[in-house]
Amino acid sequence: MNELALNCPIPDYNHGTKVEEDHGHGSKAMSKLIADMQRWYGHEVQVHTDAACVPLPQGATSLSMTTDGHILSPYQIPGCNIGELAIIGSVNDTVVSGALPYYVAVYMRLTVGFPLSELQMVCESMGRTARDIGVAIVTGDTKVVPQDMGDGIEITTTVVGAFTKTRIPLQPTMVQPGDVAIVTGVLGRHYVAVAVARSEGKLVSPVTSDMRSLHKEVAILFDGGIKVRFMHDLTRGGLLDGVVGIAEHSGTNIVLDERRIPHHPAALAACKKWGHEILACPNEGTMIVFVDPRQAPQAIDLLRKVGSPDACVIGEVHPRDPGSRKGEAILRTTAGTERTLVQQPGKMFNRIC
């Protein structure tokens, strides 16, 4: 037996080019992959313990914790790859809640056959993005699944952030009648960029994903003394889902002006072509901000300084209808009539009619 074992070839993990099943088992192959990934993230010190031990953020009054699973198919589209998205998605959830982001945990689910060179590209993007924002990837987990159980690469990230005396936790209940609603950019870019990428060349558009970290926007609003009532990044479900939820939880009516909502032309085209709801198109770097009406012009000036040139006011907050138990999101149409917005019943699908 021993002799036979000695004569068997020893697998060589230095030469494979794809993720293999062996990478997923507690083994030499896995240790090497994890060490590689840490290097690709750009870590100077490699972590060898199961739990990360990190310093308490300075001035923290309480902590925030957000988690977000990311799938992107294909995993790289103009303006966005899944690595950048995985960091930015959770960071944006953190910063719009008011907190400062600090630490990131990464769970990566890889499918057998995913190219290691692509994994390197994704990890390097994650490291670069994290450094740009100023957060640290401190722990992680990697699993490998058979080819029929995954889509190449899926990444879940968890971000720990801190609230301080000035960065307080924001709640939708802080939204008050009289407040104005600002969006930080043109809507629908991520949605179209994904659709165009999935068309396998059948559709062509110069549009790129709007994916970007909103930490600078949030910081400049707080530092500039803007009384931010509430913020929400307009990801899944887009503006529609965002405002319907905020109206409901704040108990106010949010009235949006159809004429003032900035949509990207490519998003308009895609929605008209497929019959999708333009207001429900997802974004990955655009948020809605509710502020004191007197500070709206100043807030817009500040947002424009940090790379949100299209920031604009799109609506205002009114008291809810007398006798009504909950708030509503309302779209004031160009005809001067008002339409109550409701959530989409399910996913958006291609319509014939």
Binding site: V204, S205, A266, K273, S324, E328, E338, N350, C353
Partner: protein, 452 residues
């Protein structure tokens, strides 16, 4: 019915002789989206022309109409439409012409008229913009049977599910028909989860054929629903499948036509409306010559109408004007897209591939000569023939009031199931799906009601 978008032909990429056959079309300007399309139905097209595109196929060249307009305010609208065509939605949804048209209609109408819009796409715009409120006391707009998803009978959906559950069969369908319930409430979308049905969502018949070419090991059944508008692209795809002898592609066809439905409505006792808004995109293919005898026989005005808010109000305005002047007949309020004769090229191909047959409409029963089915000579591409299957009976939930809604006997909100047991997420009847009148009403009314 019939989602369609205007686009500009930026390049012609392929000719056969002098005839352009393929080109690229750009939607919403250079920042928008570009797509390569077949130019089979617009052989006179030139680079720089604007076209109307339905499910990825240009159906008509958009033309300038300004010179034809007599009144100053209409010239203005028409000029703005022309100026802004690449971006046509922006002006056609803007405040100024909407307000102008509402005021004109209110000024013109001396009593309240009931006008039926035939198309579900128009119902959606009317509900979104609350035109019935703005025109209150002058015009009441009521929805007609113009959603291809809603009029598709349950047995076709049952059969599509049955096929999708078979070994080595994939059904290619539009998203809206995927969510419409068949008998006992089962939809294609639900069957994916509950019965392991294999379904792919497509945005054009062309995409279904493309899927078949890429997956030669499975039989692909394209679920071909639609009015005349969609029959044109369906005919082209069938023609290509026949020519290329694509042996793993077939079509489950239930296509319907508007004129027989209008005749049926108008000959129903107790049915009364003062006029009709004709479905503009159906007419982009078929023209409106078929409507003259209907208008004469039943003494109603019919106005061919478009889909943007301004288009729609223009249709209402012309209909009211005809009613006030006591005229019956057909007028065209969508001349930039629709001509009297329609798209002759498309009609020829539809006629070549499909024949008229009696067809059952959901909520109406059998409407004579109202269906377009595959001709016997192409029957190997008919899913019914290929799989040797027949349609079962349609079982619809008896609570559904869609028939009465189409006959203008009640509105969706009069139905006790509306918004309670029947919602877009859980449909009792098909009116709550696609662009059905119930879904349209739900989107605009239900939340406010709940809140009270």
């Amino acid at each position: 019915m019939c989602q369609a978008i205007a686009g500009k032909i930026t390049r012609i990429t392929e000719y056969v002789g002098d005839r352009p056959v393929r080109g690229t079309v750009q939607y919403m300007g250079p920042e928008g989206i570009e797509q390569e399309v077949s130019l089979a139905f617009v052989p006179e097209v030139a680079e720089g022309n604007y076209v109307l595109v339905h499910v990825g196929l240009p159906l008509q060249i958009i033309t300038e109409q300004e010179a034809l307009e007599k009144e100053e305010w209409r010239r203005k609208i028409s000029r703005m439409i022309v100026d802004d065509r690449g971006n046509e939605t922006s002006y056609l949804r803007s405040e100024e012409p909407i307000k102008l048209l509402i005021a004109e209609i209110r000024r013109l109408a001396t009593r309240e008229y009931t006008i039926m819009e035939v198309c579900g796409g128009q119902t959606e715009i009317i509900d979104c913009y609350k035109f019935n409120k703005l025109l209150e006391g002058r015009v009441k707009l009521v929805p007609g049977p113009g959603c291809p998803v809603c009029v598709t009978t349950a047995n076709y959906i049952d059969l599509s599910i049955d096929l999708a559950c078979r070994e080595q069969v994939v059904v290619a369908a539009f998203g809206d028909i995927m969510h419409t319930p068949g008998s006992y409430g089962m939809s294609l979308a639900r069957a994916i989860a509950e019965r392991n049905a294999k379904v792919v969502e497509v945005d054009s018949p062309d995409a279904a054929l493309f899927y078949a070419l890429r997956h030669p090991d499975v039989q692909v059944v394209y679920f071909a629903i639609g009015f005349e508008t969609t029959s044109a692209p369906n005919a082209l795809t069938l023609y290509e499948a026949v020519t290329k002898k694509v042996s793993n592609f077939s079509m489950l066809v239930t296509q319907v036509m508007v004129p027989p439905a209008l005749r049926l409505l108008l000959s129903t006792p107790d049915f009364h409306v003062d006029g009709f808004l004709g479905a503009g995109h159906v007419c982009s293919v078929m023209g409106y010559h078929e409507y003259h005898p209907i208008a004469r026989k039943y003494r109603v005005p019919i106005v061919v109408t478009g889909f943007e808010p301004v288009d729609l109000l223009l249709g209402v305005y012309q209909c009211v004007r005809m009613l006030e002047e006591g005229r019956v007949g057909v007028e065209n309020a969508y001349p930039r897209i629709v001509t009297e004769e329609g798209n002759v090229e498309a009609q020829r191909l539809i006629k070549k591939m499909f024949r008229h047959e009696d067809c059952e409409w959901n909520g109406f029963g059998v409407v004579p000569e109202s269906g377009l089915r595959i001709r016997p000579r192409y029957k190997t591409f008919d899913a019914l023939h290929r799989f040797g299957v027949t349609l079962g009976p349609s079982v619809r939930d008896p609570r559904c009031k869609l028939t009465d809604i189409y006959l203008n006997k009640c509105t969706p909100r009069d139905c006790p199931e509306f918004g309670t047991s029947c919602t877009p997420a859980c449909q009792v009847g098909p009116g709550m799906g696609g662009e059905g009148p119930c879904k349209s009403a739900y989107k605009t009314f239900i939340l406010r009601e709940e809140a009270l």
